[in-house]
């Protein structure tokens, strides 16, 4: 029966989505950068090889892991080191690591490896060239690494409880791409199909790093145990991810790249809206959702954190899952816009953690509605930088009101509203967040408070006639130029601005970190403080040699049989 055309259910508004507490509750989904990569590798039948593995019995040496796509190859060159414990630090200021890496564009020659061996182990103190497209490093999880080597050397498999408690054998502490340390600019790879989506270079580097780490722990156990040693059980190996330890350096990224950030959020919101508009689900789609919900519960059960904020959020999420299960049990999830109704119910009944989990999970049965949106994640608008000086001050005022009207009502003189300032320290050149009224940092403040800056522009505009031009305004007030640029970007990038105060006494930088990491596809967010978080990447994913025969999409959800 034909029905009257219905009004399309719209994506959620920026005002609803772009709050820090919600951005800090996002979960991975079908559009996560790791899943985009693994799906592509399977679809395109990528192959993998390990042309070099020259590691001594102390675990020191070099290995090369090559990934071969349809037209190009990429190689991870891994340098393994013997690091004294007192030098092990996850902070960006560290100077030595358990392992260091670069992703080489192609297949390296012996000369390339020799050149890189004199630079990559020193990270920021070395230089690479435009043959390299990322530079990274990793440290061992000391507890788990020693347990693995010891158990395997003695012919035993590692204790699964210990594996689940940590989730990875090594954690990366920085993965640099896009021209850092002399590597190739993003422009070199942006037009290639396999690296067009954001962070595919970095995701490939971490994917290959995980294979190296598994091979290294097997090799070390073999060296220690000789004939007694056994190889790591493939199921345990698969449950291992690569950890990542991320500090404040990542937080400014989403403020400094408003168009790119907009694209990520827009794409996810569009995907959610498409699924909400499904009028009738099939039985198999409904069953698929129920299955992935059960698997997701297992993921949440394995998610551990000792940080008070996350402990509370996890307790809420577990309660949310109880409520969600009860609701879903009484629903057919088939008729009358089932996913729209589920989203509406979640907004009324669940915490933001739970709401965003539901939003991510309803995308799972709908690959054909969702996955093509991955092509819209990259920022291809090279003109977004140019200010339109012909715009009138009146139009600018309207834009400001639409984007940052709320910020003009905040009293920015109140200490608690501007208690913090983002700055870069002279000592280590790392981004930091300080106390504006307790430290001499205000004059070094980075432009990472767009809401406060918009309110200042608003005060200036009070003295300007609406028919004046932006060109005239900026001639007299060049201090507002970065804010005007952001407002003009907002016209076509409405999800590019965090709709919250990024310098208040209450701001939690981990919300910004989690938001970005969720788009990578990270799981098991474990804050170590309000500005430092550990995560897991690729836990459950196939290894390179398994790409052709295992699930390269839903690996993020634990297999229930294996979890019994």
């Amino acid at each position: 029966m034909e029905t009257v055309a219905q009004t399309r259910i719209s994506p959620r508004s920026p005002a609803q989505v772009m709050r820090l507490s919600r951005l800090g509750s996002l979960h991975q989904c079908r559009l996560s950068f790791m899943r985009i990569l693994t799906r592509r590798m399977q679809r395109e039948r990528w192959t993998f090889s390990r042309p070099v593995f020259e590691i001594d019995d102390k675990g020191v040496g070099v290995a090369v892991y090559s990934a071969h796509g349809p037209t190009r190859s990429y190689s991870l060159i891994a340098f393994a080191h013997d690091l004294p414990p007192e030098m092990r630090s996850d902070r960006v200021i560290a100077t030595a690591w358990d392992a260091t890496f670069t992703l080489f564009d192609g297949i390296p020659t012996r000369e390339d490896i020799d050149r890189l061996s004199k630079n990559v182990p020193y990270q920021e103190a070395g230089r690479v060239t435009d043959s390299e497209i990322s530079v990274s490093r990793a440290n061992r999880s000391v507890r788990l690494w020693e347990h693995f080597v010891d158990a395997l050397a003695n012919g035993q498999q590692p204790d699964i409880e210990k594996v689940n408690a940590v989730g990875y054998l090594m954690r990366t502490t920085a993965v640099y791409g896009s021209g850092k340390l002399g590597a190739a600019d993003r422009e070199k790879t942006a037009e290639r199909p396999e690296t067009n989506a954001p962070f595919q270079v970095e995701m490939l580097s971490v994917f290959l790093t995980r294979a190296f780490v598994r091979d290294l722990v097997n090799f070390m156990a073999q060296s220690r145990g000789g004939d007694k040693a056994v190889a790591l059980d493939p199921t345990i190996a698969r449950s291992l991810g690569i950890g990542n330890s991320t500090g404040l350096g990542m937080a400014p990224y989403i403020v400094n790249h408003p168009v790119l950030f907009n694209n990520w959020i827009t794409v996810r919101e569009e995907a959610i809206a498409r699924v909400r508009n499904v009028i009738t689900a099939t039985v198999s789609e409904a069953n698929d959702f129920r299955a992935v919900l059960r698997q997701s519960e297992r993921n949440v059960a394995l998610w551990k954190s000792e940080h008070p904020i996350q402990v509370e959020k996890l307790a809420d999420l577990r309660m949310d899952l109880d409520r969600l299960n009860a609701f879903v049990a009484g629903e057919d999830l088939i008729n009358d816009h089932p996913w729209h109704r589920l989203m509406n119910w979640s907004e009324a009944n669940l915490s933001e953690e739970g709401q965003e989990l539901v939003a991510s999970l309803i995308l799972e049965p709908y690959a054909e509605l969702v996955d093509g949106l991955a092509a819209c994640l990259a920022n291809t608008n090279t003109d977004s930088f140019h200010i339109n000086g012909a715009m009138s001050v009146g139009e600018l005022k309207d834009l400001l009101n639409e984007c940052f009207g709320w910020a003009c009502d905040v009293n920015w003189q109140e200490r608690e509203n501007c208690a913090r300032a983002w700055y870069v320290s002279e000592e280590k050149l790392e981004p930091r967040l300080g106390e504006r009224f307790e430290e001499p940092i205000a004059e070094y403040e980075q432009p990472l408070a767009p809401a406060r800056d918009a309110a200042e522009l608003n005060a200036t505009l009070a003295d300007w006639a609406s028919d004046a031009s932006v060109a005239e305004l900026l001639l007299k007030h060049p201090e507002h130029r970065h804010t005007v640029r952001r407002l003009q970007v907002h016209v076509y990038a409405p999800y590019g601005e965090i709709q919250d105060n990024t310098i208040s006494a209450e701001v939690l930088p981990i919300d910004m970190l989690r938001c970005k990491l969720s788009f990578f596809g990270a799981t098991h967010f474990d804050p170590r403080s309000d500005r430092w978080v550990r995560i897991c990447m690729y836990g459950g994913a196939p290894y390179p040699e398994e790409i052709s025969r295992r699930d390269c999409d839903r690996w993020v959800y634990p297999e229930l049989e294996a979890a019994q």
Binding site: D130, R143, E427, G434, P440
Partner: protein, 210 residues
């Protein structure tokens, strides 16, 4: 040594902020320097000269006093970053009349802004001063003469067409002196470390040996 264009952009932005210019102008300087390097022109050297000239000046001293008539700086001299930003902002006016500027220092730094103006108006824009002229159509640029004047009176107009596209560079090779100067100026944007910032500013956990 060769540098990624991203490194040029990041360093240029900090260096420009380092002489006290606004973040928005620093962003313009960063993109402009990157663009010059991509054309194979000495972007870092030019920015180093611009920042040396303007260190200690306020932006108002070296901006056009008015956008009507010939552009003249309050101090008698125009900084190409400030004049360039206004050229970008006034691109639409080129369809009505030429823009003339008096006594622009290091006018090579106006080229990227001419390119931006051409993109705005969707037409070819020419810029010339004594001994040099360039045409930009928003995608490509052609040059005649040597652009490295210390200062010049400049005319920007809509006209002409681009004849020979220039090769794009993917790396920059700044002179050691200019790169060192930009990094010294960039240092001014970094806050001196204090005990408190060491302890709390980055917010790392207490141990990573776990």
């Amino acid at each position: 040594m060769s540098f990624a264009l991203n490194e040029v952009e990041a360093t240029s932005k900090k260096a420009t902020r380092g002489i006290g210019f606004s973040w928005g102008i620093a962003e313009e300087a960063a993109k402009a320097t990157r663009w010059l390097c991509a054309q194979g022109l000495p972007g870092c050297e030019t920015l180093a000269a611009v920042l040396t000239d303007n260190d200690g000046k306020t932006m108002g001293d070296v901006s056009p006093m008015s956008l009507d008539g010939v552009w003249v700086g309050a101090s008698g001299r125009l900084c190409p970053l400030m004049a360039g930003a206004s050229l970008n902002d006034c691109a639409g006016k080129l369809t009505l009349n030429d823009i003339s500027m008096n006594n622009v220092s290091n006018p090579m730094m106006l080229l990227p802004f001419t390119h931006a103006a051409a993109r705005h108006v969707g037409a070819t824009v020419s810029i010339s001063w004594d001994g040099f002229s360039a045409r930009c159509d928003g995608n490509r640029a052609t040059f005649e003469g040597t652009p490295d004047a210390v200062s010049a009176d400049v005319v920007v107009s809509l006209m002409g067409s681009v004849t020979k596209p220039e090769e794009r560079e993917t790396r920059a090779t700044p002179s050691g002196d200019s790169w060192q100067l930009l990094n010294q100026l960039a240092q001014r944007t970094y806050a001196p470390a204090t005990e408190q910032s060491r302890l709390f500013g980055a917010g790392a956990g207490t141990t990573d040996n776990d």
